[in-house]
């Protein structure tokens, strides 16, 4: 381990003084002093990508900065929780909710859907944006014996992508398409069950929404039974 001491940076977050080693993100620095900045696309286990923008903070520049990717600078004065900042977070949450399906498989099983938690935090009861979830247009993929994919509940936070390709090195998941039509895909946009997925479960463990969840075990047993029967048939 290198032991070179890193320079210490002093800054202020929501009026509280903070001191962190150079190279620390604002999100981490805030966490150190007990300020939890909401985020959907980041976890301390992962390389930050700054795509959900929920963690934006005001650092007095022309535009806000995503605190998960923005590094602390000496003398920075960070507004992480004012009404001005929360207003944008609420709009971002509403945007995602306007495309979100009626039922989240995560909320109905383990109750920890992070997008719905934000909806509660911001007390969003009515969304005045056009409904993009009607007819479940983005579809779902139930081809994997163990993992259910609900594309309508995917917010493209890229956590499954980093979980699969960077944490587990299984190299299966990507974004495909572009813009509003962008979605997650497996290998060459194959059904998950026909891809090189090894069902390690990392993607559904890191997924913050109902997009990637556990399938009920019964269906897995059924699938195993089917394979056995097929093998018997071949023999």
């Amino acid at each position: 381990m290198a032991t070179t001491a890193r320079k210490l940076i002093k800054l202020t977050i929501d009026g509280k003084p903070a001191q962190v080693p150079e190279g620390t993100s604002i999100w981490d620095a805030a966490r150190n002093i007990g300020i939890d900045i909401p985020v959907l696309c980041h976890s301390p286990r992962m390389r930050p990508v700054g795509v959900c923008r929920m963690c934006v903070v005001d650092i007095g520049l022309r535009v806000m900065a995503a605190s998960c990717v923005r590094l602390c600078e000496e003398g920075m004065n960070v507004d992480a929780s004012s009404a001005k900042v929360e207003k944008h977070r609420k709009m971002l949450t509403s945007l995602l909710l306007s495309d979100y399906p009626e039922n989240s498989a995560r909320e109905s099983s383990t109750g920890n859907d992070q997008l719905l938690a934000l909806a509660r935090k911001f007390a969003i009861e009515h969304i005045s944006l056009p409904d993009g979830a009607a007819g479940h247009a983005r579809g779902s993929d139930m081809s994997s014996p163990v993992i259910a994919v609900d594309h309508q509940a995917c917010i493209l936070c890229d956590k499954c992508i980093r979980g699969c390709d960077e944490l587990q090195h299984n190299n299966v998941i990507t974004r495909t398409g572009k813009g509003y039509a962008a979605r997650i895909a497996f290998d060459l946009n194959n059904p998950m069950g026909e891809s090189t997925c090894v069902a390690c479960g990392e993607c559904m463990a890191v997924c913050p929404t109902g997009a990637l969840t556990n399938k009920p075990v019964t269906s897995m047993r059924a699938a195993v039974g089917k394979q056995r029967n097929q093998k018997r048939g071949e023999a």
């Binding site: 923008r53 535009v63 995602l96 299966v172 813009g179 895909a185």
Partner: protein, 547 residues
């Protein structure tokens, strides 16, 4: 560059990049399938299955919409619906707004009526030549009277072992107050200086020749008619920062311009202005051209870098900036075509001369792309500080004796202004004070009778269509913005629509990663603010779409 170049080649050869091709490529290159799918799915040039023999791509953006009418694309489609080998697709601006309505047929630009385009597509009329001009015009930013004089500025400054020459160049650029002419207006001298002082090695020089914003086509003319100025400036940039490699990133719609550039590069190599020990100096530098697999977003400099690194062209979070962390994480000096091309004459004649070319207190010369309701659309090189009114007069005024109603001074990302602002000077600051910005210098004139609300919405649609989808505000917000106004135009506006659009615009502007998302709703908001009579009865009342 390797993967995308290979995929472009496959697409060209076979009309598609199929699954089996990607499986083979995955093994050959040792790259997982998901990465190749990520690229194929992102770049519009690629398709998974071959299409028909004749690919007709019709521009759907603002100027073509004005000239061909809002139904132009669907008219071409229905006219060609029975043609066996023809496929028609609507695409974003192809950079030929001066000959709108424009289309491309198998990458060859064509223009004209529905009938003319149909005739080209069905073989009734041979496709026009796509060879570069052999008679380039004389432009006032070219210091050279003839080809023999080319690259004199390199000879003047590239002297071995003397850093004072570099200091002098930086000083001249700063004094000339040259700014990024791709629209961002970042001081060029400062950018050159920062990249020169950046510590990483190796360093790269990149030219952004991916102009794709509706109304913008000036770089196209510079690439075709003045490629030697671009090459010369890139050599100087390499010498300045200590780079030996330069890349020109050009949009695929500019095949003709690419040919002109390629010929000029070969000529420069023969002349000794590219390669080893350039013109007797101790500087080595060479150039390569990279053809973009498509998408406006690659004009955003960090998205462009991601594309060069064989990734999905999604803008990076900044800082760090390319001057420190550019291509492959190394210091990279990137300028727009027009910015580079201005440099030889500034160094040849000095900052004072450049300053004197502007009007009044404004310095220098600017290439403007003029289109829309104007008699002589095209690219004009004018003094900085020329007024919009003078530019309009220079271009023959509004045709058919109509009055001017509005203009968009700098591309899809700039506020529409009313004709009452005609006396504004063409200048970054002056245009800002008038309530808009000069952007890329894409001036679209709109005559009386034009529906500025519909035209502004077409600009928002452009950004929605070209959003990379990386961040939530731009991906979802631009889509919802269009949905909201379309519903209103259908006669069913939702209550408090204008307030909602204002909030949405504020979130897009404040929280999007890059300039695209930040400006996606700008033209729409400008019509609400500056043309309330055109906008409010239809966004707040039930007046709906004009008949």
């Amino acid at each position: 560059m390797k993967l995308l170049t290979k995929m472009m080649h496959l697409q060209e050869q076979h009309g598609a990049v199929t699954d089996s091709m990607l499986r083979e490529m995955s093994k050959e290159e040792g790259v997982p399938l998901y990465r190749l799918e990520g690229l194929r799915g992102f770049y519009p040039v690629f398709r998974a299955t071959p299409g028909r023999k004749m690919q007709v791509q019709v521009c759907r953006d603002i100027v073509c919409m004005m000239k061909g009418g809002p139904q132009f694309c669907s008219k071409v489609k229905s006219a060609l619906s029975n043609a066996a080998d023809v496929e028609v697709e609507e695409v974003s601006c192809v950079g030929r707004c001066d000959t709108a309505p424009a289309a491309t047929i198998n990458e060859v630009p064509v223009s004209g009526s529905v009938e003319a385009i149909t005739a080209y597509a069905t073989g009734g009329k041979p496709l026009p030549s796509n060879a570069p001009t052999t008679t380039p015009r004389r432009w006032s930013t070219d210091p050279y009277a003839n080809e023999k004089e080319h690259y004199s500025v390199i000879k003047k400054f590239l002297k071995p072992g003397d850093d004072r020459q570099r200091d002098e160049v930086i000083n001249i650029l700063k004094e000339a107050d040259l700014r990024g002419l791709g629209g961002a207006a970042f001081p060029t001298g400062m950018k050159w200086d920062l990249t020169r002082k950046a510590v990483g090695r190796p360093k790269y020089v990149v030219c952004n020749a991916d102009e794709s914003e509706p109304g913008t086509f000036k770089d196209r003319v510079i690439l075709e008619e003045l490629p030697h100025l671009l090459i010369e400036a890139m050599v100087l940039a390499g010498w300045m920062i200590g780079a030996t490699e330069g890349i020109i990133y050009i949009r695929h719609e500019y095949a003709k311009e690419k040919k002109a550039l390629q010929q000029a590069i070969e000529k420069a190599r023969r002349f000794g202005a590219l390669g080893k020990k350039i013109l007797g100096s101790d500087t080595d530098f060479d150039l390569q051209i990279f053809v973009s697999p498509g998408g406006y977003i690659m004009g955003e400099e960090t998205a462009l870098l991601e594309a060069l690194e064989d990734k999905r062209g999604e803008p990076r979070n900044k800082p760090p900036f390319p001057v420190d962390y550019g291509l492959w994480g190394k210091p990279t000096l990137m300028n727009n075509v027009e910015t580079f091309a201005a440099i030889p004459i500034i160094l040849e004649r000095g900052a004072a001369w450049w300053g004197a070319q502007g009007k009044g207190n404004y310095k220098g010369l600017k290439y403007m792309c003029v289109s829309g309701d104007v008699a002589k659309p095209g690219v004009y090189c004018v003094p900085w500080g020329t007024t919009v009114h003078e530019l309009l007069t220079l271009c023959g005024g509004v045709p058919d004796g109509k009055a001017l109603y509005a203009f968009s001074p700098g591309g899809a990302s700039t506020n529409f202004l009313p004709a009452s602002k005609l006396d504004t000077a063409l200048d970054f600051k002056a245009m800002q004070e008038a309530g808009s910005s000069l952007g890329t210098g894409a001036m679209v004139f709109m005559a009386a009778g034009r529906d500025v609300l519909e035209l502004a919405i077409s600009e928002v649609k452009f950004f929605r269509n070209e959003s990379c989808g990386k961040c939530v505000p731009c991906r979802v917000g631009s889509h919802k913005a269009v949905d909201l106004v379309e519903t209103a135009l259908a006669g069913k506006p939702q209550p408090d629509l204008v307030a909602l659009l204002q909030d949405l615009n504020s979130t897009l502007a404040q929280t999007s990663i890059c300039g695209l998302g930040q400006v996606a709703m700008v033209p729409l908001m400008s019509v609400i603010n500056y043309f309330p009579d055109d906008a409010l009865p239809r966004l707040q009342g039930s007046a709906g779409r004009r008949k």
